[in-house]
């Protein structure tokens, strides 16, 4: 399950719309091990293509170093499909190498409605996961266990 703030979803969709008809790509960084996406980093699509994307390798090194220095990791790796549904292609699967990341696909084939879906991709196996869009992480998924004891 991917729990993600609405402003981050809006930012990914806006990026995908802006780059349409080329594929847009980027990451959402978050604290290491938290599974909490916090910060959208739009990346250059070095392919500048409607059918392919590839992170620019020099930009990727800079972004990965910055995440490392901030104890962050790519919680979400996203890209858009501009003419097909939001489902990973064979090429997407063959390149997927972050077993802990949520691979988010945004389809912009419909100019009015977008489709956003999330997957885990581990050893070539694609598993779709539910996406819960929240206004804030503060109140998401608090169970009785999470209420602090009142001393």
């Amino acid at each position: 399950m991917l729990v993600i703030r609405r402003d981050l979803v809006d930012a990914m969709v806006a990026h995908a719309r802006r780059d349409h008809p080329d594929e847009a790509c980027g990451v959402v960084a978050g604290p290491e091990g938290s599974d909490r996406p916090e910060r959208v980093v739009e990346m250059i699509n070095a392919e500048r293509s409607p059918t392919f994307y590839r992170f620019d390798s020099t930009e990727q090194l800079q972004v990965w170093r910055a995440m490392d220095a901030a104890d962050e990791e790519p919680v979400v790796i996203y890209h858009s499909h501009t003419a097909t549904e939001a489902y990973p292609s064979r090429t997407d699967v063959s390149y997927a190498s972050e077993p802990n990341a949520h691979y988010v696909l945004v389809s912009t084939r419909d100019p009015q409605e977008y489709e956003l879906r999330s997957y885990s991709i581990v050893d070539g196996v694609v598993t779709e996961e539910p996406v819960e869009v929240v206004e804030s992480y503060m109140f998401a998924h608090t169970g009785s266990d999470d209420i602090p004891d009142r001393g």
């Binding site: 994307y53 090194l61 090429t91 190498s97």
Partner: protein, 92 residues
């Protein structure tokens, strides 16, 4: 000639979970061979048919080695070598 090599998550199974390891060599190819002698299997993940695998990026300091000679790119004592999975995809 010691270089510090940073290992991405996906390849840490080969380094016993270590994020960075030391290796020796004066070219990228020599460093990879040295790495493979201590961490078996790493070379297969990085090199295919005598060239860098298209699924990985290898950098010497800030330079993508694809632009500076590939496996023959030179490495000096104290350099850092960074391995990152390429992030890419396509329609088919």
């Amino acid at each position: 000639m010691a270089v510090n090599v940073s290992i991405p998550t996906i390849l840490r199974t080969h380094t016993g979970g270590q994020k960075s390891v030391e290796a020796d060599g004066s070219t990228v190819a020599e460093v990879i061979n040295d790495l493979d002698s201590r961490h078996t299997g790493l070379k297969d993940r990085l090199v295919k048919e005598g060239a860098l695998h298209r699924f990985v990026n290898v950098y010497v300091n800030d330079e993508d080695v694809r632009f500076v000679g590939g496996l023959e790119a030179s490495v000096s004592d104290g350099d850092s070598l960074t391995i990152l999975p390429a992030v890419a995809g396509g329609m088919r």
